[in-house]
Amino acid sequence: MRRWKTAAVVMLAVTVMTACSGQRPVETSQAEAPPAATGPTRGGRLVYGLSADGNGFNPITDQFAVQSYSMTTPIIEPLVSVDANGDWRPYLAESLTPNDAYDEWAIKVRPNISFSDGTPLTGEVVKANLEAQKASPLTAAVLAPVTAVELTDPMTVTVKLRQPWVAFPYQLSLQVGMIIPPASLADLKEASRTPVGTGPFLFKEYVPDNRMVVTRNPKYWREGLPYLDEVEFRILPDSQTRAQTLEAGGVDAVGTNRDEDVVKFGDMKDAYTVHRAQGMSVSEYVFLLNTAAPPLDDVRVRRALAHALDRDTIIKTLRGGLTEPADGPWSKDSKWYVDGGYPDYDLAKATALVQEVEADKGPIRFEAISTTDPNTMQLVELCQDMWRKAGIDVTIRQADQADLINRALTGDYGATVWTAFSAADPDGEYNALHQAFARPIGQISLNPTRLKDKQLSDALDAGRVTPDEAVRKQAYATVQQRLRDQMPILFIDHLNTGAVIAKTKVRGIGEHTLPDGEKGRPLTGAPIPYHPFAQIWVSE
């Protein structure tokens, strides 16, 4: 009897171990051509780990974070894209032509494109989309300068603006430029869950907080694309187990912003590739300072805070030395960057400024807001210690994301951690820096530092209305100089640790061409970047 029982237990154990062995059965590749070492191969399946789910996939009603762009852009495409040099290029649009004053843009729609539901893409559809975006509370502020959208001919839409806006096409590379078919416009709620577009992939399945699966669009308008048969986006919120899942073979690629992942997988060059965002795509890690409330309404205090911060030590201590110190909203590899004028680390200068202010107004005390995650808390505590050495008393308040954003918008803060400035064009920061968007404390202010600086605002206006690149560069040089002079924002570093890590078999991440042949921008977005999927292939 006992022998029989033992045998049964052994058999059960063997059965369970057999069932448990290995990963999920990998679907057979539908490759149409044998893998070639020299070029892309069609077929295959990619499992891609994302850090969070999207709130929905409707560009008109759902706020898009980077993960939303990852999941939605394979299905829904924008009118405009951005090339590797950071210049806008037509995508679903064939051309975008301004009038002489740049207060009208004629958008000519690329011909012979259909949505996956069979509806042709026309000027009428683009007009309806732009009007819906203009009416949406989500995007109305972005399109505030738009006064009318008119159909000039069946394939051309003219957008009329309140003022010249040379960088207007960049907006159409984002959420407001993503085009959905009339059926989705008619049922916005359904479009949130079941996205339909002109893109290289078709929506197949979505399980909230778990996965989204998209399959190849056989009628995609760009010939020969996409290469992959299927992409599964797996939602894995914990960064550590997301990386472990990559190591265990459960996914083929993941997005991350953990320094240790960048270092660890970067050292395993035979098995993984690490793709990091660069240039304008990289956001900056900063402290916003509330310039409308004491003591930070005094520019001497703001400059003292900057002098007291040793950014090199912060980077060495908390970023593993991977990031670059920031001295403005744009990194050194951007064509808009100008050098000079940012307060250097100089504790003696900081202390002198503090003593000067204290002689006038008494002790300097304020509250700095941190998010609740330990990495951010460590950074804020390190800064608190550096400020204390200069004689500034800073207390820390922990707030979750919703609370922090609300406080920033209503001015209920002294200083707060923040990440920003990843727009493709400097004009993308217009609302956040211009004095016209600074409101008194208690009111919603799209300019959260509430700095009212005429020179800065005039420079932003100049950058918005003039097409001359030299003049624009001068305008944005002034923006940087005024920010360094007035210090409404303490810049810490360029957060270029946002990365996509993939197994070496996954090819083409960040290497894609646009419809007219230009090389596209590799990766964009923060804190974890995203990229197109149409030209990714698996070399198996």
Partner: protein
């Protein structure tokens, strides 16, 4: 009669719990409008949306409105996803239920034999080793245990998936494979508690006269343990199962995040962060009903296990 009495108590519990959670959530700074519209929306857009969502109404009016819907089975609509809260909960409930049941199976399946072995050899090396193991499990946070288990079973040995979820109806085999690590991680803390409780009660029971009599009759130690000692020693264990449900549900939040499971715990926490009041309320109702129902069942099981309670 007892069922009716329990139902009345359940209604009172639900009223108190849902009102408190609704009020507390509304006291949190920030609101769903900022979450929906983000940084770039104007004051006018925000006011318009606030009105559309009914957030401009007083708290009590909103609560009563929600309660009126609940009575008719309508949990309301999520502010963030605009999906029916009832449908969202129904989609996620099987995941959390399966995780909870699997964790309890792991905990009880190991705690009973380990507790009995420890009680039978109280004070001996095996008992001391099991005591040390219990304290080790109790003092290890679930997120540490989860990461360690993933490292061993998924990364190093590659016999189990690190993360991910497949529903029972999609693929039974893969579903069971994907629930093992989360269930073991969640169940280990309970295993320690259960085995310690059972050990303590069994040691006391084994001192009873009727056990001495059974030994005198020549019954084998195993028979005495299983047939005569286990049942009267299980009352504390059964109580702990009911009471620990709350802790277990709390644990699912971490486990679901760690292993990427689309369950109720993760939904509630995400909804708290996004100030999605109605989704949180729906989750609170579900958990409250579940908690009361499980403890009601525990009361019934008491009577089945110990006839003295039934007769009393």
């Amino acid at each position: 009669m007892i069922v009716l009495h329990r139902l009345v108590r359940l209604a009172v519990v639900l009223l108190v719990v849902t009102f408190l959670s609704y009020a507390l959530l509304n006291l949190l700074p920030g609101d769903p409008v900022t979450q929906i519209l983000g940084m770039s929306a104007t004051e006018e857009s925000r006011a318009q949306l606030r009105q559309q969502l009914g957030l401009d109404q007083p708290l009590l009016v909103r609560y009563l409105d929600w309660l009126g819907g609940l009575v008719t089975g309508d949990f309301g609509e999520s502010y963030i996803t605009r999906m029916s809260v009832g449908a969202e909960l129904a989609e996620r409930l099987p995941v959390t239920l399966e995780l909870l049941v699997a964790a309890e199976v792991v905990a009880l399946g190991l705690a009973v034999p380990l507790g009995m072995a420890a009680a039978r050899r109280a004070g001996q090396p095996l008992d001391q080793a099991l005591t040390a193991l219990s304290f080790a499990l109790l003092s290890t946070p679930v997120f540490v245990l989860g990461v360690l288990l993933i490292l061993v079973f998924a990364v190093t040995w590659q016999v189990l998936p690190a993360t991910g979820w497949t529903s029972l109806t999609t693929d039974l085999g893969w579903n069971l494979t994907s629930v093992i690590l989360p269930a073991v991680t969640l169940g280990c803390g309970q295993l320690a508690v259960y085995s310690r409780l059972l050990r303590t009660d069994l040691i006391a029971t084994l001192q009873e006269d009727y056990i001495t009599l059974a030994r005198a009759r020549g019954l084998s130690p195993r028979r005495i343990l299983w047939r005569h000692a286990l049942r009267p020693s299980a009352i504390s264990l059964i109580t702990a199962i009911g009471l620990n449900l709350g802790a277990l549900i709390g644990g699912t939040v971490i486990i679901e995040t760690l292993f990427g499971l689309p369950g109720i715990g993760r939904l509630i926490v995400d909804s708290i962060f996004s100030r999605d009041y109605l989704t949180v309320q729906g989750g609170v109702v579900l958990i409250s009903v579940g908690y009361v129902a499980v403890n009601f069942t525990v009361d019934l099981v008491y009577a089945a296990v110990d006839p003295r309670i039934r007769h009393a």
